[in-house]
């Protein structure tokens, strides 16, 4: 059983079962949609940004356990952070899941380190982050796709 838990750790399974901040955000100031055409995952991320700080964040959508748990843990990690910090956290997270090195403090997001063993799943883990970057105007397009 252990070999199966290197990627599917209990934290990931828990956030897949009970995603946090899975909600609409009527007061959203920023919003974007993400799509992974390879597996059909779709996500909407909405942020309420006040004075450069992410006051609230919510997501909705359907996807695999990795993408759902990643979105859930991301919302927890981003709430209360400054926008600039959010983007550097994304950079650190991307290093983590692709097997690179980062000096970012990733906290609970470290549970995704196993993703680097499965290159095909990197897109699942990063879709929500790309969507946030898009909402923050980093991508310059309405629907961000992983392709």
């Amino acid at each position: 059983m252990n070999e199966l838990a290197d990627l599917y750790q209990e934290v990931i399974l828990d956030h897949n079962r009970k995603p946090r901040n899975f909600k609409k955000l009527p007061a959203a100031t920023h919003e974007a949609n993400g799509h992974n055409p390879l597996c059909g995952d779709r996500i909407t991320v909405a942020l309420d940004i006040q004075d450069g700080v992410i006051a609230d964040i919510g997501f909705q959508g359907a996807g695999c356990a990795i993408s759902t748990a990643s979105a859930s843990l991301m919302t927890e990690a981003l709430k209360g952070r400054r926008v600039a910090d959010a983007l550097s956290l994304f950079a650190g997270f991307r290093e983590l899941v692709t097997g690179g090195v980062t000096d970012q403090e990733l906290g609970k997001l470290e549970v995704f380190s196993g993703v680097s063993e499965y290159p095909a799943r990197v897109k699942c883990a990063t879709l929500c982050w790309h969507t946030v970057a898009s909402a923050l105007g980093e991508h310059g397009q309405d629907v961000v796709t992983t392709e």
Partner: protein, 413 residues
């Protein structure tokens, strides 16, 4: 654990012919259940390609020396092997292409463009692979023609009444899957071809998933075109076959222009070569054709009828084992099925299934299988698909079943 009563093949011996089947995957014995994506290759094919480059390599149809004659002979002998394998009447009806996809595009862009007029119709089915949808969509858009789609039942069978209704005198081309890659359904194409001919339509059969699993006789089917890919029938990638009836190929405009497809060229006028060369511009995939012929010869040796019978039992056994897994639903339960077990598992996304099976050494495909309309029809974003071949064993399906139960455990079922 094996319960197959009538072993029609000596599978353990056959497995020795496929070097990759002895491989390890993530520390386990590899269980390869993705043959619908691409089949594994027997040593006979690997050696034929090696021998070609070691002893026979030269360009074809041009050299005046012995080596080139040898290469030409091998290349044309490969064409004859394909002819015999699908029971075409003449080797000139066999056009080498890159794969089923290119075969379909070739027909759409030559026959289709020359035939289709505004308001005409092309008829496909709801279980086509994207490669038998998009080329027709592109053609219809260009010509102002209409693309019509035969719907399918909940079990994944074509609704033949609807097919009959959709065939009209405006139907110029019916492009039909022989076997569905996502559902495994074997369509009654012989009957469907006859029905299409009765309204004057020409018929292309996409045999990419049929040729690896069933004896195919294009004359008995009476199809106008038949396409398949080499890499799904134990051959190399990058080679495939378009069969076309001689008189239709003769009348068709050429596909790509270049060397080999011409008889004479001046700046004023070019005279095209006869089929199949008219459709094979440029130096062909010689090694691919030779490898494909080696694959088909290998399959003949095993026997396609024996393969079909063994795989039918194996598929039925796999279905029985899979439905024992709590929460598992098979997608595609047609009465007549070939070698595909598509399924979803309640509460677990197919990509998570794929990764967790991979971790246990089992290779399946998870996704939309290039058949998004099929996924939509069944209301799922994706499925997990175990696709079988004659080199698979009941024990491997036992391992799949056990591994799926572990997936359930991980997800707390």
């Amino acid at each position: 654990m094996s319960v197959i009563e009538r072993p029609t093949l000596d599978v353990e011996r056959i497995r020795q012919d496929f070097p990759i089947l002895a491989a390890k995957a993530r520390g386990h014995d590899l269980v390869y259940l993705d043959s619908a994506a691409t089949s594994q290759k027997p040593s006979a094919v690997i050696e034929a390609i090696h021998r070609y480059y070691a002893e026979q390599n030269s360009n074809v149809h041009r050299g005046l020396y012995e080596l080139s004659e040898l290469a030409t002979e091998k290349y044309e002998a490969a064409r004859a092997t394909v002819r015999s394998f699908i029971h075409a009447s003449d080797s000139h009806e066999i056009v080498f292409v890159r794969g089923a996809t290119e075969g379909i595009n070739l027909v759409a862009q030559t026959f289709g463009r020359a035939t289709l007029k505004a308001g005409d119709q092309v008829l496909i089915t709801a279980m086509e692979h994207h490669s038998n949808i998009v080329p027709w969509q592109m053609l219809c858009a260009e010509k102002g023609a209409l693309l019509k789609v035969v719907p399918i039942s909940d079990s994944g069978e074509l609704l033949l009444d609807e097919y009959a209704r959709l065939l009209t005198p405006r139907t110029r081309i019916a492009a039909l899957a022989h076997v569905s890659n996502a559902l495994g359904t074997i369509n009654p194409v012989r009957e469907m071809i006859e029905m299409a001919h009765s309204v004057g339509a020409k018929v292309l059969i996409d045999g990419a998933q049929a040729v690896p699993h069933l004896p195919v006789d294009v004359q008995d089917l009476d199809c106008d075109f038949y396409v398949f890919s080499g890499h799904k029938v134990c051959g190399p990638t990058g080679i495939g076959v378009l069969y076309g009836k001689a008189e239709i190929l003769e009348a068709m405009p050429p596909y790509q222009g270049g060397g080999d497809m011409i008889l004479s060229v001046t700046f004023e006028k070019t005279t095209y070569n006869r089929p199949p060369y008219k459709f094979e511009a440029g130096t062909p995939h010689i090694e691919g054709a030779i490898g494909l012929a080696a694959a088909l010869t290998y399959l003949e040796g095993v026997g396609m009828a024996a393969i079909a019978a063994y795989e039918k039992d194996l598929t039925a056994y796999g279905a029985e084992r899979l439905i024992e897994v709590p929460g598992l639903r098979l997608i595609g339960t047609a009465r007549n099925k070939a070698a595909v077990l598509s399924f979803v598992l309640e509460g677990v996304h197919p990509h998570d299934i794929g990764t967790l099976l991979d971790r246990q050494g089992i290779a399946i495909r998870a996704g939309h299988h290039c058949a998004q309309p099929v996924m939509e029809r069944f209301g799922v974003p994706a499925t997990a698909r175990a696709s079988l071949s004659f080199y698979n064993t009941p024990e491997e399906l036992d391992r799949l079943q056990e591994a799926l139960c572990k997936v359930n455990e991980v997800f707390g079922r």
